[in-house]
């Protein structure tokens, strides 16, 4: 049985001039208990709105949200509170009550009727966990961005809800605290009674935690699947970029019946791909898939070979980004520092890039 089943969900907002915009339109998905469901999508696609609706903080314009078969959109105020107590919601821009860190974190337990003696230990434990020891008496409104984010996390995790709604929860956290949060989420994931729905802009986070990923674009779910499905077969430009196909080129595809391959004309370049499509297409190539050599490659297993110039080299620690101009199309390639030095590459070096037809993803 599904824990949560969203069907045909719509949300409209009214603009100043009374015309409406559809922020969510026709959302359908269901979530199983114990699952971690990740929502990705560009800015303004409706992620926050969707999470707020699921958190019963805003009614949808239309649609159904079944939770254990009860429609959350048509329940009394009282029942709404009961359900909200099963959920937690960490906002994208957290806001805290104007009181101490301790009181902020204890609040969720207090409203559930717990007494001081009952909650003091839990609260102190979580304060230690989120590394806020020493700040518990400070007014939470005077904290730094990341500290406040951690208070918000602690506030919502302390009462151990059944459903975690996390909206870009790792933004503003330093790497140390991101790790801390990772451990947290990993622990929740191990508890098969707990369900997580989170939004993120960080692909690594999506892969790390997502049992399934939904891509929200313009208020619609354009793709939904396991991380593997999403990352190997992104269906739109945003997803492609998100998962790392950072070279996206537009061209016209034609089938070559002889070889069974697709020939894509991009201005002066011709790219060969193994997928079979025709017409106006977008082509994606991961920077890692692009090989570099100083001389024209003798090995013919690479179907795409272009001569180019290095326009720019960006140092990324032990790897680098090369920007290569091939017939006025720019390609981004990632190589190791070692190769950079071995090949003696520098800006304006003339080089050859190559990639396999199977590495070309057509959208």
């Amino acid at each position: 049985m599904n824990l949560l089943k969203v069907s045909n969900l719509y949300k409209e907002y009214y603009k100043e001039d009374k015309s409406s915009i559809n922020v969510l339109s026709g959302i359908n998905f269901s979530i199983n208990k114990g699952e971690c469901f990740v929502i990705i999508g560009p800015n303004g696609s409706g992620k926050t709105t969707l999470l707020r609706i699921l958190g019963l903080l805003e009614p949808p314009t239309k649609g159904q949200i079944l939770y254990y078969n009860e429609d959350l959109c048509n329940i009394s105020r009282y029942k709404k509170v009961q359900y909200r107590r099963k959920f937690s919601f960490v906002r994208q821009k957290p806001i805290v009550r104007n009181t101490s860190v301790f009181n902020n974190i204890a609040y969720g337990l207090r409203v559930r009727g717990m007494k001081w003696e009952e909650y003091i230990n839990d609260v102190n434990d979580i304060i230690k966990l989120v590394d806020l020891k020493g700040l518990e008496k400070k007014n939470a409104r005077s904290l730094s961005g990341g500290e406040m984010q951690r208070v918000a996390i602690a506030m919502n995790f302390v009462f151990s809800p059944d459903l975690y709604l996390l909206d870009e929860v790792s933004a503003n956290l330093d790497p140390m605290n991101v790790k801390l949060l990772d451990d947290f989420i990993t622990k929740i994931k191990q508890d098969k009674e707990k369900t997580i729905i989170m939004s993120t802009h960080d692909p690594l986070e999506a892969i790390k935690f997502g049992d399934r990923i939904a891509v929200l674009n313009n208020g619609q779910i354009t793709q939904l699947g396991t991380p593997n499905e999403i990352f190997t077969a992104p269906k739109d430009e945003f997803t492609a970029l998100f998962v790392g196909y950072e070279n996206i080129l537009s061209g016209t595809a034609e089938m070559d019946l002889k070889s069974g391959l697709t020939i894509i004309k991009i201005n002066n370049l011709t790219i060969v791909a193994s997928e079979q499509v025709e017409g106006e297409v977008k082509v994606c190539i991961r920077p890692e898939s692009i090989g570099i050599s100083k001389n024209p490659p003798s090995n013919v297993s690479y179907r795409n070979n272009f001569k180019g110039n290095i326009e720019d080299i960006r140092d990324l620690g032990n790897t680098c980004h090369l920007i290569i101009n091939c017939q006025s199309e720019r390609f981004l390639a990632t190589i190791t520092k070692l190769s950079l030095n071995n090949l003696e590459l520098a800006i304006n070096s003339e080089i050859f890039i190559n990639f396999k037809a199977t590495d070309v993803k057509i959208l």
């Binding site: 903080l57 509170v81 909200r84 919601f89 821009k93 806001i95 009550r97 104007n98 609040y107 409203v111």
Partner: protein, 231 residues
């Protein structure tokens, strides 16, 4: 006659320190009536005002407008209405409450209710909506949310209470009609000031006025300190 004011201030000090029995009676009545009525009004108006501020419902706009209007309800008219109610020939005449401090509290209560309702409503409404959502999402019931918002906007709510108290204690039309300005019983600062003015005793009137605002200042100051400590 412009040193009337200075004379008034000196007279005020003299009065206060001679511990004039009548003066202290007036102080007592004034404060008892105004504090009780404002306090009772707060008990009623705070829940109502904050509830209106909290919820969305049809007709809220008109209701808000009505409250705004009633915030400027003429005290004389309020006094008259209460008088007509409490008068022997009025519906509540049998209670025999007319010309008592109870009647005065009654009248000032109805004057203070819209003021406190209006300010509480505005205060609750001006709380950041994302704070409301955060509190709700932490599992607060509507009553718990309400309490948090009251706490969060207590500054404005206390300000509203102070306005209502200030109006009550400086108000004269209503207490005059329903209290009757009876010596030793229902005479307040303001009715006494009016009486003295009528009798041409400007110095005394000013003295009472100076006393009234000095005491109001002290009350105010105390409340502000309390509020600062609580914050």
């Amino acid at each position: 006659m412009s040193n009337d004011i200075i004379d008034g201030i000196l007279e005020a000090i003299r009065l206060l320190f001679t511990f004039d029995r009548e003066l202290w009676g007036i102080i007592e009545v004034s404060f008892r009536v105004s504090l009780t009525s404002t306090f009772l009004a707060a008990l009623v108006a705070l829940p109502i005002g904050s509830f209106i501020g909290l919820r969305e419902f049809r007709g809220k706009k008109t209701l808000s407008n009505l409250i705004n209007t009633f915030m400027g309800f003429p005290p004389v008219v309020m006094g008259l209405i209460i008088y007509l109610l409490l008068s022997r020939s009025g519906p509540l005449g049998s209670l025999g409450l007319l010309y008592s401090t109870s009647a005065m509290i009654f009248a000032q209560f109805f004057l203070a209710v819209p003021i406190i309702t209006g300010t509480a409503k505005a205060a609750i409404e001006s709380v950041d909506p994302t704070l409301k959502e955060t509190i709700l999402s932490l599992g607060a019931s509507e009553r718990q949310l309400w309490w948090e918002l009251i706490k969060d906007s207590k500054k404005s709510i206390i300000a509203g209470f102070l306005v209502a108290f200030g109006q009550a204690i400086s108000e004269v039309g209503a207490v005059m009609i329903v209290g009757g300005n009876i010596r030793w019983e229902t005479r307040t600062f303001t009715t006494s000031i009016v009486l003295n003015t009528r009798m041409g005793e400007f110095g005394m009137a000013i003295a009472l006025g100076v006393l009234l605002i000095s005491i109001a200042f002290i009350v105010n100051y105390g409340l502000t300190r309390l509020q600062a400590r609580g914050g």
